[in-house]
């Protein structure tokens, strides 16, 4: 029986190491190797082309705006879900989770059909007022905000429910206004859950590709994000640029991931 247990254990170990190694470890290792094989200076040159730099800046801008939107509205929606009882709460909850089960390409199509200035529902009206959503910055932000909508809400709502509202009520009986209550009581209690949600949102937006490909028009040096830069280099048979861009984006994601595990450990400790 003992040897049978040991056999079971070692075959599981072998399987786990092989599966994760062949599926994740080795491929990631090989892309890092290929990006750096020509030397760091040439990898640096491959991503610091004008198109590359523009893509990086656009990606950071788009991420900043969409993360800010989803943080503010995400906390708002979480407060509504946790603190208000109203008809349609479950519909709201379902709506928030919806982006998780919709293909990014479909998200892009939805924004196109609604906001295209030629065939969209609201697009023509917006266009007469000088607002162009498609093939422009607002469309990219919308696509990013759509796909990353659930994360802040899903992380913050359970924390708020667990917390209860006794402290908030106590503060407001003592004369604190709603904003004071929010800044002094609510926000400090949800900060690690919120941080985790914001980081998940950031990771999701940095890597978004399908939805943005549909709405951005992928115009090099104008509406091209980093993920599209990598894809373009790959299809143009410029693997050096693709690998270097992949490494750059991968490194940014790694930093987000490290921050994620840090905030998860903080969140666990604070509960």
């Amino acid at each position: 029986m003992r040897s049978e247990g040991r056999l079971f254990r070692s075959s599981l170990r072998l399987f786990g190491a092989l599966y994760v190694g062949l599926l994740v470890g080795l491929p990631v290792g090989s892309v890092v190797y290929r990006a750096l094989a020509p030397g760091i200076p040439s990898a640096w040159r491959a991503v610091t082309t004008p198109a590359g730099v523009h893509a990086l800046v656009l990606t950071l801008e788009e991420t900043a705006v969409a993360v800010a939107l989803n943080t503010v509205f995400g906390v708002g929606i979480a407060l509504v879900l946790a603190r208000h009882r109203f008809p349609g709460a479950s519909v709201l909850e379902m709506l928030v989770d919806l982006p998780l089960s919709i293909s990014p390409v479909v998200v892009g199509l939805a924004i196109l059909l609604c906001y295209s200035s030629t065939e969209g529902w609201l697009g023509p009206w917006l266009a007469t007022h000088g607002v162009h959503v498609l093939f422009a910055f607002p469309g990219i932000v919308m696509a990013s905000a759509f796909v990353s909508l659930p994360y802040v809400v899903r992380e913050v709502t359970p924390v708020l429910v667990e917390l209860g509202d006794e402290q908030e009520q106590a503060a407001s009986t003592l004369g604190a206004g709603p904003w004071t209550v929010f800044w002094r009581i609510t926000l400090p209690s949800i900060r690690w859950g919120l941080a985790y949600g914001v980081l998940l949102t950031t990771a999701r937006i940095l890597g978004e590709f399908g939805a943005i490909s549909v709405v951005s028009g992928d115009i090099i040096g104008h509406t091209q994000t980093l993920t599209q830069f990598v894809d373009t280099d790959l299809t143009n048979f410029d693997p050096a640029g693709a690998y270097a861009g992949a490494l750059l984006l991968g490194l940014i994601s790694m930093m987000v991931l490290t921050a994620l595990s840090f905030s998860r450990s903080k969140e666990k400790r604070s509960i």
Partner: protein, 282 residues
């Protein structure tokens, strides 16, 4: 006369605006949340829905059963199901290693198992292409074959499988398992009789999330699969091609079908999951 009706109309508008203002002031949170979600999610999705139905149900059905579209939808469904099943087994095994086993390599496994979740899907595609593509150092060239789709989907959904099972396994008492083992149960009996039933709800949740992600996956598959119609073209790639051909009703119809597939599979996993949840009274 006209000025009188104008005045009445403008009074009505003012009244309506004032009423909307009152609603907003009384419940600013719910109203703002509703407005944000409407313009970001609800109205755009309604546009897809309405576009899919512009020609009536018969045209919608014809769009979905168009040969190339249907092949793409079927490929997405079958590949996602296969990958979810494989990852349910692999994910459970890996979660078990992370929780119950002490072995040097396990720390490394734990460190990289979240990578697919943090890595952008395009990078996932580039990453897999560099190892399993035409210039593969292992001499395994999967590019432009159906295996490429399976590998890409397995890569992006691995964390769902592992991370949904892991916390439940951590909560689970190892004592019951040890007691069964002392009484002579083989490791497999212990696992299938004691561990697995408690893991089933989490396993199914992870499988549902993984399926929803896999069936609509675009970035990693588009790079690796070659997108050959009838062979390696998945549903999301087909939708992208239809948008590119300016066939928006076709794209909307395919999107609707894809969404329906995701909802049906998620509902089935939810139903099966309920079966495994402990009954409350007994």
């Amino acid at each position: 006369m006209t000025s009188a009706t104008d005045a009445a109309a403008s009074a009505r508008v003012t009244h309506r605006v004032a009423r909307a203002g009152r609603v907003l002031r009384r419940a600013p949170g719910p109203s703002l949340a509703a407005i944000y979600l409407s313009f970001l999610v609800l109205v755009p999705l309604a546009a897809v829905f309405s576009n899919a139905f512009t020609g009536g149900p018969r045209v919608l059905w014809a769009e979905i059963t168009e040969k190339e579209t249907f092949a793409a939808l079927r490929l997405s469904l079958l590949c996602s199901l296969a990958v979810v099943v494989v990852n349910a087994f692999a994910g459970t095994a890996i979660a078990w290693l992370l929780v119950r086993d002490r072995f040097v390599l396990n720390r490394a496994i734990g460190a990289i198992v979240d990578l697919p979740f943090a890595l952008p899907t395009v990078i996932a595609g580039v990453t897999l292409l560099s190892l399993y593509g035409p210039n593969s150092p292992l001499h395994v060239d999967l590019a432009f074959s159906r295996y490429a789709i399976l590998v890409a989907l397995a890569f992006v959904t691995l964390p769902f499988a592992v991370r949904s099972v892991q916390p439940v396994l951590e909560e689970l008492d190892a004592e019951t398992e040890e007691a069964a083992a002392t009484l002579g149960a083989s490791p497999w009996t212990v696992f299938s009789r004691i561990t697995l039933p408690s893991l089933m709800p989490a396993l199914l949740t992870g499988a549902g999330l993984g399926f929803a992600r896999a069936v609509g996956e675009y970035g990693s598959v588009v790079i690796l699969s070659g997108n050959v119609p009838f062979k390696t073209e998945v549903a999301s790639v087909r939708i992208f091609a239809l948008i590119g051909n300016d066939d928006l009703p076709g794209a909307a119809a395919t999107s609707l079908a894809l969404f329906a597939i995701a909802i049906v599979v998620l509902s089935i996993t939810a139903l099966v999951r309920r079966h495994y949840l402990p009954a409350e009274d007994t």
